[in-house]
């Protein structure tokens, strides 16, 4: 038992001999929980997860004997937790509409019984490695929860219960560990959030994470197990990009970490996801989703913890052999929490008030992404996507620039595009993906061999058009050749007809890989035909007035992902529109014939 000495916002100095760094402590009459972040003699510095208002020097402090841990077991999905994994719905029952202080509740329901089916290949006497699957619980119709031997336990199986209904606190197996001590295993275990969970081997990132967003999947792809950042000034669409990913990604589990952002954005998910169906399982999206919420008005220290809570939950599902995506909105708010604590500790700021360890903490966090061979020998992945909120939209600030060095896919959101309501406002000039090569082989195999070439052609047109627009702004459009005028028009077709994709359009919110490819292919087809005709002498003005162009821009909202064959038929309309010109201007040499209809063996619902 110790004593509170000094209270400085969320940072409290206590006298508590023998407490460990990282250990949890409980402070004062209210029972506020915090974490030791520094020690000096018999004094310890504690960061407190709740508001310290009304706390007094002299109040008692108690060490809890363990670091910040999360509970891992059935009942996680569909939940909303706060930054230290308190169940927010449960807190309502205890404390009402406002989050009262000092409440403590177990994250997982202790009363609910789960149907546990033991693995059939386990027999008493066997040696169980850490991570072995003891059995399964069908957590909900979407996900079968694998109950694992915790990563820090291994040894001889003494006994394992038969199939039946068990609550979380009931024993389901006993294992004699190295020291000869029997360990009781339950449906859940705990794990410290700041320690990455072990795995057998790290594998290179795998197949594409398909988000259904054309500018992401087709132009700046991300792979399962990869790391990505979405930076941008306020209001340009970071949250919407992340919500779209949470909705449509081809993964088994989605963990959405609302880190220092708006309460209403979480409500939006809580209200809409249960009604939306997962395009892969056909089930309610909420069944594969879990929220960690520390909104901007909630205590800043718990915000710092929230991303670790989120990624540890992700590791747990990864260890069961699942593909998990974690979206963290926003890592800048996490960094600011770090900064605030560092400032109160009087640590030397290096850039814009941030402590020197910002870069290494960020890197260590993103390192928890990856595709691995789990302890059980299966493959699981964590894809990490962090929003970055640079002050004033300045990408050279510390959090954005350090993040940029760490991640492989960078979706740079542009204010100019957002101002014109071009969403997703992913700027093609500043964004990049280091995964294009790997993604290309997947697209070639599953959708169309020409993917890489068509993608490059489109990006080439967009870049060329940006340069031309620059010239136009200096000397006017008259300086452009007809071919160049056509490039400008084609780029605008790509922007409006392919890149621009409203999350709110029910037809176009999700775009299957085939739809993505066919749409791009058709629009490039228009470009190719037009260019050919211009070289044959057709005045570019005649092309610019074609009603076909308006129709082409609206294709995306006309045909859903289940109508790709009809979309493909648009090629007839393209031919018909150009045919009269060919009649007048001849066909010339090597007419670009429309490409053979795209192959496409991608099946919806396919998920390895």
């Amino acid at each position: 038992m110790g004593e509170t000495l000094d209270i400085n916002g969320p940072i409290v100095t206590v006298r508590l001999p023998g407490v460990m760094n990282g250990e949890q402590v409980r402070i004062g009459a209210l029972g506020l929980v915090g974490e030791v972040i520094g020690r000096e003699g018999d004094r310890a510095i504690v960061q407190v997860y709740e508001s310290t208002e009304s706390l007094r020097p002299g109040e008692k402090v108690e060490a809890l004997g363990h670091p910040l841990t999360v509970e891992l077991g059935p009942g996680l999905l569909g939940q909303i937790f706060d930054g230290v994994q308190r169940p927010l719905r449960g807190l309502v029952e205890q404390g009402g509409d406002y989050i009262a202080r000092g409440l403590s509740l177990p994250p997982l329901d202790r009363d609910k019984a789960w149907r546990f089916v033991p693995s059939s290949d386990l027999t008493p006497g066997m040696t169980l490695a850490a991570g072995t699957v003891l059995g399964t619980v069908q957590e909900n119709p979407t996900l079968s929860h694998h109950i694992l031997v915790p990563p820090d336990v291994e040894g001889e199986l003494i006994d394992l219960v038969g199939a039946g209904d068990y609550t979380l606190e009931q024993m389901i197996a006993r294992v004699r560990d190295r020291t000869g001590m029997p360990r009781e295993l339950r449906l859940y275990h705990r794990w410290p959030v700041r320690v990455p969970r072990p795995y057998r081997r790290r594998d290179p990132a795998g197949e594409p994470l398909l988000t259904g967003q054309r500018v992401l999947d087709t132009f700046f792809p991300l792979l399962k197990g990869g790391k990505a950042a979405v930076p941008g000034p306020f209001g340009v669409g970071k949250t919407m990009v992340q919500q779209q990913i949470a909705r449509w990604s081809n993964v088994h589990v989605v963990i959405y970490v609302g880190c220092g952002e708006r309460g209403n954005e979480l409500v939006d998910i809580l209200e809409t996801f249960p009604k939306l169906t997962d395009p892969y399982s056909g089930r309610s999206l909420m069944e594969r989703t879990l929220l960690v919420a520390n909104t901007s008005n909630m205590p800043v220290v718990a915000r710092e913890a929230s991303i670790y809570v989120g990624v540890t939950l992700a590791e747990y599902f990864r260890d069961q052999g699942y593909d998990v995506v974690v979206v963290a909105d926003s890592t800048s708010r996490w960094a600011e929490a770090l900064r605030e604590v560092a400032g109160r500790l009087g640590q030397m700021p290096v850039e814009e008030g941030y402590p020197a360890y910002l870069a290494s903490r960020l890197a260590a966090f993103y390192e928890r992404a990856g595709r691995v061979e789990t302890l059980a020998g299966t493959t699981g992945s964590i894809t990490l996507i962090g929003a970055v909120s640079p002050p004033g939209g300045d990408f050279s600030e510390p959090v954005t620039s350090h993040t940029k060095d760490i991640i492989q896919t960078f979706w740079a959101l542009s204010k100019e595009l957002a101002d014109a309501r071009h969403y997703p406002a992913v700027g093609w000039a500043d964004s990049f993906s280091a995964y294009v090569g790997a993604a290309a082989s997947w697209w070639a195999e599953h959708v169309d061999p020409a993917w890489a070439e068509r993608r490059a052609a489109a990006l080439g047109l967009l870049t060329e058009a940006d340069e031309l627009a620059h010239i136009v702004n200096l000397v006017g459009p008259e300086a452009l050749s007809p071919e160049q005028r056509w490039v400008l028009e084609s780029a605008s077709l790509i922007r409006e007809g392919v890149l621009q994709q409203s999350a709110l359009d029910p037809v176009d919110s999700f775009s299957s890989p085939e739809k993505q490819f066919v749409l791009l292919d058709l629009i490039l087809e228009i470009h190719d035909q037009g260019r050919k005709l211009i070289t044959l002498g057709l005045p570019v003005q005649q092309l610019l007035g074609l009603p076909l162009l308006g129709r082409a821009q609206r294709l995306k909202g006309t045909y859903g992902s289940d109508q790709v064959p009809s979309l493909r038929d648009f090629v007839q309309e393209i031919r018909a529109a150009f045919e009269p010109f060919y009649r007048d201007y001849g066909r010339g040499e090597g007419e670009p014939t429309p490409r053979a209809a795209p192959g496409g063996s991608f099946r919806r619902g396919k998920r390895e």
């Binding site: 000094d6 209270i7 400085n8 100095t13 508001s51 310290t52 208002e53 009304s54 007094r56 020097p57 002299g58 909303i80 927010l88 309502v92 404390g95 009402g96 406002y98 989050i99 202080r101 000034p233 209001g235 609302g258 220092g260 708006r262 309460g263 209403n264 979480l266 409500v267 939006d268 809580l270 209200e271 909104t295 901007s296 909630m298 800043v300 600011e336 900064r339 605030e340 400032g343 700021p349 814009e352 008030g353 909120s389 002050p391 004033g392 204010k415 101002d419 014109a420 309501r421 136009v472 702004n473 200096l474 000397v475 006017g476 459009p477 007809g497 709110l504 308006g550 821009q553 609206r554």
Partner: protein
């Protein structure tokens, strides 16, 4: 309550009192400070240990002599009295009457710091509020429970705009009696305060307004607690008494400046432009108190004014505000100088909650697409205008000339409207189509073919346009 007065002030500067040897003081507690001339000030404990207690004094520390300053610890936090009798009254930042009438006595009092609403009980704001202003209703709709700031600048008519919103934002008749305004004045001028009072009076809502006033010549540190007092009252009106409360905070820039002043005196590490790193969290504690709660009838809709220092939207105050609020209405000096009222500049303005508060169930089915189209067409037209300023309008293509004419008409007829002009949403939408019809259908890719068939006024409209 500790009756004892302590005289152990060791230093008084920058709005802060440093005290020695007052053990066991609780963080956040209210104190009363008495100076040598027996005048009272109010303060709050912002750091505490057995050895040192740090107090922030709302009236500032000017003229305080540490030797002759007495401090009494009230042993409780800052609280505000809550009762329906608050309506129609005027208070200062800590809830003391400023209207010459007696203090409100009530059984119910609450800590002004509030507590965060549990995200699990929030209700998503969806009900469209018609303000009668086309740039807001048509393009950046406000919904009940939203926090939508006005980014303005010195000399721009944000006050007139807010007054117009208060006047025109009518609720359905059966709910009209449940409309209330909480007005928090932070460092505004006497004239502006009077303007608001009069405009509340003319719109007939004065009996339903609670005002918290700190004027430009009042002590700045009081601004740190004023919004919290005001919002505690707003929460009471909304969630205890079922009112639909509109909270106006004007001007949050003065709030942030006061925060910087105290932070500097405390020696906090600055992040940008001298503002402390916790400015974001601090502002969020205020702004996030807007919203709706499941199972409660009332709502808090918040319209803060943020004046952008040097018209710079990337300045930390508007910037961090934009990162917290659900959009922003941005006023432009350029439009204002052209005589356009309200001078709302469309490209950077945004309402994030609009997407769920408009359309078939709330306004009209084509509304979301029309809004997106107006944004896109206007953005394009602004590019053309830029181009024209370089190469001259004569050099423009016919298509570009149409675009230019569209921008003119859009600013003069859609953006511009009378201060007394109350446009119904259908009027706004019809005006939108009238303007869009000046552009050929091929140029309108954000709307559907069905929209075009139904609302576009056809090629003749395009041709008639200059």
């Amino acid at each position: 309550m500790r009756e004892k007065e302590y005289r152990s002030v060791s230093a008084a500067r920058g709005g802060l009192l440093f005290m020695r040897g007052v053990p066991g003081v609780a963080l956040g507690d209210r104190v009363q400070v008495r100076d040598q001339r027996n005048r009272r000030r109010d303060g709050q404990v912002i750091r505490t240990s057995h050895e040192v207690v740090l107090i922030q004094v709302f009236e500032g520390t000017e003229g305080l002599d540490p030797e002759r300053t007495w401090v009494r610890f009230l042993d409780r936090p800052f609280e505000v009295m809550l009762s329906p009798a608050l309506l129609g009254r005027i208070f200062n930042g800590i809830g003391q009457p400023r209207d010459g009438r007696p203090p409100v006595i009530a059984a119910l009092q609450r800590n002004v710091s509030g507590a965060p609403v549990n995200p699990a009980v929030r209700a998503y704001p969806r009900e469209f509020i018609q303000t009668g202003i086309s740039t807001i209703d048509g393009l950046n709709s406000l919904v009940r429970g939203q926090k939508l700031p006005i980014f303005s600048g010195s000399g721009l008519p944000h006050n007139r705009l807010i007054a117009q919103i208060v006047r025109q934002a009518k609720l359905p008749a059966e709910e009209q009696s449940r409309f209330a305004v909480v007005f928090a004045a932070l460092g505004i001028s006497h004239d502006d305060a009077r303007f608001f009072r009069e405009s509340f009076e003319t719109s007939g809502v004065l009996q339903n307004v609670v005002m918290f006033i700190n004027l430009a010549d009042d002590p700045p540190i009081e601004r740190l607690i004023l919004p919290r007092t005001a919002l505690t009252v707003a929460e009471y009106l909304a969630f205890d008494l079922d009112h639909h409360v509109l909270v106006v905070l004007s001007d949050m820039t003065h709030y942030a400046e006061a925060l910087r002043e105290v932070a500097t005196a405390k020696g906090d590490v600055p992040a940008r432009k001298g503002y402390p790193g916790y400015l974001y969290s601090d502002l969020a504690e205020i702004y996030e108190r807007a919203g709706r709660i499941k199972g409660r009838r009332g709502s808090i809709t918040m319209v803060p004014v943020v004046s952008m220092p040097s018209d710079d939207i990337t300045h930390p105050i508007p910037d961090l505000t934009g990162y917290i609020t659900e959009g922003q209405i941005v006023l432009s000096r350029e439009l204002h100088n052209q005589g356009i009222y309200p001078p709302v500049t469309i490209p950077p303005s945004l309402s994030r909650l609009m997407k769920d508060g408009i359309g078939k169930d709330y306004t009209r089915e084509d509304h979301p697409r029309v809004a997106s189209q107006l944004y896109a067409s206007y953005a394009r037209a602004l590019d053309v205008r830029n181009l024209a300023s370089i190469i001259g309008a004569e050099e423009l293509t016919e298509h570009d000339r149409r675009s230019l004419a569209f921008a003119e008409a859009f600013e003069q007829r859609f953006v511009n409207q009378g201060e007394e002009e109350d446009r119904a949403i259908l009027e706004t939408l019809s005006l939108a189509w009238e303007l869009l019809s000046r552009l050929p259908p091929e140029a309108l890719s954000r709307v559907t073919e069905a929209d075009l068939a139904r609302f576009h006024r056809g090629p003749s409209a395009v041709d008639e346009a200059p």
